[in-house]
Structures are given as structure tokens and as C-alpha cells.
């Protein structure tokens, strides 16, 4: 945990330096007639973040961490496996929205979690039923009731007749 604390501090420090450098694209001093330049606020916030990161690392190096952290890993194998499976499924689902659209991605996400993460607790009948019902409910609520258009990827033409049906009424 101590090493993770130092690494996190280092990452924050590097990010702060990057944002401070990026803030310099706009003036950080007084601009005549306009007051403080547009870069002032983000620049000084970046410096505050950098100072905090240095203090966090300094404290960690000096061993000022909670006693229960000593000798503990940041992740053990079981934790890492479940976190990676969840994060991976989410990233794949979001990435697949560009191709199979929101509703296809939702179906895939449900099937993966119910069949793979659920370790056979849900029957195929239950899985397929929910994989159809939930996207339909999401579609009806967001697209028809709230008129919120969701991305559909390559499946866009498939929705034209459905919208035609609702528009006709």
C-alpha cells in the first residue's frame, strides 16, 4: 500500500505539471481591461495539486500511513480478477456501442454478467428474456418518452420502422 500511495502521488504530480503547462496557453497574469487571465485559475489550482502530491509522497516516504496498510498489497489476485472482469466488460460494452449501438451493447453486457459472472445461476430463458426486456424498456423510456436519442451504430436503419410506428400515432 505504501508503494501504491507513492505511485499515486507521483502520477498526480505529473498530471499537475501537465495541467500547469497546459494552463499557460492562456495568460496567467493580469490582462488590462479583462482582469485575471483565463489561465490563472487552472494554473494555480495545478500548483496546489502539485503541492498536495508532494506532501502525500513525503508523508508516505516517512512512513506516515495507517498502521493497517503496512505489508498489505494494493490488490490481491482475487480482487484484481473481479475488478478487471467488471472493468473489461464495461469498456468492451462502451466500445461496442459504435458498432452494435447502445441497445446491442446493453444486451451483450446483460448476457455476459448473467451467464459468465452469474456462474450459471440464471437460466438461458431468464437471461434472454431480460436481455430483450431491459433494452426495450430503456428504448421506450429514453427515446420515445423523454425523446433522448441514443447512439445506434450500424443498427440505426433497423430503428427507422419503429420510429415510423410511433410517429404515425
Amino acid at each position: 500500500m505504501k508503494r501504491a500511495e507513492i505511485w499515486a502521488g507521483l502520477t498526480i504530480a505529473l498530471f499537475s505539471i501537465y495541467t500547469a503547462w497546459k494552463s499557460l496557453e492562456l495568460p496567467i497574469s493580469w490582462v488590462k481591461g479583462r482582469g485575471p487571465g483565463g489561465g490563472t485559475f487552472p494554473f494555480y489550482l495545478s500548483l496546489i495539486m502539485l503541492f498536495c502530491a508532494i506532501m502525500i509522497m513525503f508523508r508516505a516516504v516517512r512512513g506516515k500511513i495507517p498502521a493497517a496498510w503496512v505489508g498489505q498489497p494494493y490488490f490481491d489476485r482475487i480482487e484484481l480478477k473481479s475488478v478487471l472482469l467488471h472493468t473489461g466488460s464495461l469498456i468492451v460494452a462502451v466500445g461496442s456501442i459504435y458498432i452494435i449501438g447502445t441497445y446491442g451493447a446493453i444486451m451483450g453486457l446483460l448476457v455476459f454478467h448473467m451467464r459468465v459472472m452469474g456462474r450459471g445461476r440464471h437460466s438461458w430463458f431468464m437471461t434472454i428474456t431480460l436481455a430483450i426486456v431491459i433494452p426495450v424498456v430503456v428504448f421506450l423510456f429514453f427515446e420515445i418518452l423523454m425523446q433522448q436519442v441514443m447512439p445506434k451504430g450500424l443498427t440505426e436503419p433497423l430503428f427507422d420502422p419503429i420510429f415510423g410506428l410511433f410517429n404515425a400515432h
Binding site: G38, P42, I48, A53, T87, V94
Partner: protein
Amino acid sequence: METIFPSLMHGFVVTFQDHNFLILTIGCAVGLFVGAMPGLGSVNGVAILLPVTFLMTPTGAIIFLAAIYYGAMFGGSISSILLGIPGASTAVATTFDGRPMAVKGRAVQALMTSAAASFVGGTIGVLLFTLLAPPLASFALRFGPAENFALMLVAFATFVGLSGDDVWKTIFSIAFGLLASTVGLDTISGQPRLIFFDLPGFYHGISFLVLAIGLYGIGEILWTIQLARGEVTMTKPTFDKASFKDGMKCIKRGFLTMNMGSFLGFVVGILPAAGATPGSLMAYGIAKTMSRHPDRYGRGESNGVAAPESANNAASTGSMLPMLTLGIPGSPTTAVLLGGMFIWGLTPGPMLFSQQPDFVWGLISSLYVSNLMAAVLMVLSIPLFLAILRLPFSILAPVIYILCITGGYAPTNTMHDVWLMVGFGLGGFMLRKLDYPMAPAALAIVLGPLTERNFRQALIGSQGDPSVFFSSTISIVLMACTVLLLVLPVIKRAISGGDDSDQPGTHPA
């Protein structure tokens, strides 16, 4: 006072005549549902249903929209408590303790506390609205940029002043939230800034909801699975006599907190451009600071639900005050309501009270009735909401991800924000494992634009003279509060003998 009472009674007659009561009930139910959906808040419900009101009388229309507004304020807490995803920005602070309560099997108590706090907040808000409308409207106008900036500093200082949190991590969290709020176009010069890797998605800035849904939706699921080491056992809460009695105890215990939240929320709500979100976050911070057990906050403390819920409902009432009396909207939702008033042919201002008594008093009395109706509907719906918590985790987790994706996409309609939300979820989870507090970042991204704008406007107005921040009694008092809150951790550390270590792995969100 002698004119208020008969006017209010007349308002009640208006609320119950024709179809107005039916319209109010439907509005509350719709608002409750819309508020509970992540990514959709009262502003979406009011904006989408505004065209429907063109078929109604102006009084019926404002009653309908105000009922949606109130219903959404109640409903915002539902998904915050049950799923850990804030239903609306106003309900983010409810997530901090509402979700841990649900995880511990106390969802009924959390929902009951939320309904009661919302009711108390709404009632106090409407009472203050009824009695103090004109003087409070002029008081709010005394808040210039310097006073507003000082108020924002108080809000940040409440988080720094909380005991238990690592001060450097808290300050980092605030600075990060503020920095995230500066991404996009500079509001004063109009120039783009912090456009990372030249990605066009950053031009519209980072939406507060994207950060909040990422941290509290995705981050919460990852937190749950790592705590349970992949084998999540769901709690099976039931709405029985014991949980009802315990819920009543939580309400009784939180009564003072609810009152504090209500008054604070109302005052913040009447400030133009502040609104219910800053009000609820400030109330949470103050409740934690004033508590005898601040360490319980973030781990399932019922007062952590009572404070923000009472504040956001009182603030939503308060934000209607400058709209009606001055024509200045106090929140995005009241901005839409204001637009509606112009369409209905009404001109907001002090004359509205004398020229349109049916409209004004019908609205005020409908707020009383909507408040009660929304509380009743919410309590009656608790068994329905609990069914969500009984879902197996292998169904609940993807459903939460789906709500996060749709909620992250809805505000700006870009996939950029969905990716950003996933990034915040993952990054927030990694930092939470190291005890970085998340709540200050959520507060800071909301208050960031207001803080920066007021800071720069105050300095422009004073030609760069920083003494402008100490030029009025209001700002001096607020600055003194800020200093006091900032030195609080130092005093607490001195009293406790220098031990500032925190319990690891159980850090509040």
C-alpha cells in the same frame, strides 16, 4: 400577515378546484420517476413537459410543473440510496450515506429519512417563502461577486475542516474538482482552455453529472466487488414493523439536522445561480462538521441523508423566490419555469403578487400540497423500490452500468462523456482505495464555475484590489467562517495529541 393568510386560503381553493389536484398528483408521480432516473433531473422533466402545459390555464400549468419539480427533488434520492447513482446533481450528497445505509440493509430507514427530510425541507422552504418573500429577495441582491466568492470558500472550507480525512488528500480533491470545472471555454474571454490532447469533446467542458455518475455509479460497483472479493451477497431488506420503527428513530434523531439543512438550503437557494446542488453539499458538510461523530459520516449515518435532502428541497423552493419576485432564475429548472411564464403571458416581478393573485397563491399553496403528496407517494412506493435491492448482483451490476452509460450520454449526447465517466469511475476507485475523499471533488466541480466567475468579476470590479473580498459585512463574516473552518483540523489534532491517522479501506465516498 393579515393579508397573507386569506391569500393563502384562496390559493388552497385554487389548488383543489377543477382538475388542479389531479394535475398535481400526476406531476408528483412523474417527477418522482424522472428524478429517480440517473442523468435526468427536474430540469429534464419540466423542459420536456413544458409544451404539454400550453393546453392548460397558467395556474394549472405552474401547479403541474412545480409538482414535477418537487417530485423530482424527492425522487433524486431513490437511486442515490438504492443504487449509489445520483438520480440528479441535487442528490449527490445523499449518495455519501444513503448508499452505505442500503448496503448495510437499512434502505427502508434511508428512504424514510429522505422522505421526511424532503418534507421538512419543503415545508420550511414554503413557510419561509410565504412569509419572507419580498425582504429575502432584496437580501439576496446584496450578494455581489465578492460575497458569492466568500460563500463558495465557506463551502470548500467545511470539507477541509472535517475531522478524519487526510487534509492534503481533501485539498487535492477540491483542487481537482475545481480544475475539472475550468475545462472548456473560458466564460470571460471565450477562449478554449485545458483541451487535453485536442479532443473536441473537452470544448463543452466536463459535466458535473459525468464525474458524479463515474465516481458514485461505476466506482461504487467496483468498490463493492473488491470488498466482497467477487462474491457479493445482496441484502434482503423488508418494509416491516421493525424497520419502520427504526426509520422513525432516524427521523427523530435527524430532526435538528433537517432544520439546519432546510434553513441553509433555502438561503443558498434564493441566491441567483446557486441552486439546490451547492445547498445540499454545504448542508452535508456542515452537518458532518457539527456532528459529535463525524467519523460515522460516509459509512451509513442517517443524518448524512437528512441534511442534503432537507437542503435540496428547501433550496428548490427558495430558488423560485427570485424567479417570481425579480425575474431572476435561481436554478436551471426555474430558468425553464421562467421561460414558461413568459409563454403563458405573465411577467415576473413584485407586481405579479397583486396582478395575478390566483397564479401566485395557487402556486404557493400547491407547493404545500405537492410536498405532502410527494412524501406520501414516496413512502407508499418503498416496497416497490426495495424489489430493486433484492435483485441478484449479476443482474443489478449490469443494470447499474446501463443506467451509468445512458446517464453519462444524456446531458451532452457525446460518447466522449461516456468514456470520461468510465475513466472517472476507474480513477476514482483506485484513489478511493488509498483513502482519497471523493465528495469534495463533486462539490468543487459544481461550485467551480461560480467560484471562478465571482472571483474574477470581483477583481475586475475593484481594478485588481484584493481588499474587495473584505469590503462588506457579509463577506467579512463569511471569510472569518472560512478561516475558522480551515484551522479546525489543526485545533482537533492539537486536542487529540497529534494522531491524524485514519482507518484505511473504509473511507467514505
